[in-house]
Assembly symmetry: C2
DNA sequence: CCATCCTGTAAACACTTCGTTACAGGTGTA
DNA sequence: TACACCTGTAACGAAGTGTTTACAGGATGG
């Protein structure tokens, strides 16, 4: 497997996703086995809408994946599980990743607010 | 040396410090050698006050260290350099770190806004 | 039909973060 | 004196983030 190194932008997104106590706990809990949203919310002790938002961020960063499945009694249940990520954070590694950063300063889409 | 694993809270702080394009670039630049604030600001292309703020965050997270030195012509110059951090981010490692999390939900200081 | 379980999303608010501008001081040199 | 460096910090606005509450639907079982 040996996942390819992420780009600078992807790395920032991953780090931002993990840089939150609640999201860190979500990943930690999922590391113990897959689970569906409502149950996971009860397990951790947060509201479902809140968990839903955090899971979206974690999934966007590629740290977890969700699959919609049907239970025996026909309910639609979304199961999440952790991906096999493996990041190494050292100064040289970060220097390498920084080479592929595309947004050093917040630049928005073209044609929005050009001055003279 | 083999730095001891940080606590969950410390890990979150480190990740939050690195989860920013500009700060990532700062660490990347310092990985190439120590530098003082004003020069580093010109190098990267940001204002000094802004760089100052980011350096404080990086230092608070233990990723860089700053030392105030006197140059040959007597100017006070603050040199920053990266520390020898080495973090491994995997699901099991995060699960281990999450055990030492002390702030699952944002709790602010006491006596601020108690209701009846 | 009503209750209970699952999903998703939008509105509103508090709070933090990011960035600029402006100011404070220090030293050494023309 | 004025200028060119260096440091630090406070004030302010813009933008992003985290959280709650409320609402939308679909499927099963009494």
């Amino acid at each position: 497997m040996t996942a390819a190194e992420p780009t600078g932008d992807e790395l920032v997104e991953m780090l931002a996703a993990l840089a939150n106590p609640l999201r860190l706990r979500i990943v930690a809990t999922l590391a113990g086995g897959r689970d569906y949203v409502s149950h996971l919310a009860r397990e951790i002790g947060v509201s479902r809408p809140l968990l839903h938002m955090h899971l979206r961020r974690l999934e966007a960063a590629g740290l977890v994946t969700g699959t919609l499945e049907l239970s025996d009694d026909g309910k639609a249940m979304k199961y999440y599980e952790v991906t096999g990520f493996d990041l190494r954070l050292t100064a040289p590694a970060l220097a390498e990743a920084a080479k592929t950063l595309t947004r050093p300063d917040p630049e928005q889409g073209p044609g929005s607010k050009e001055h003279s």
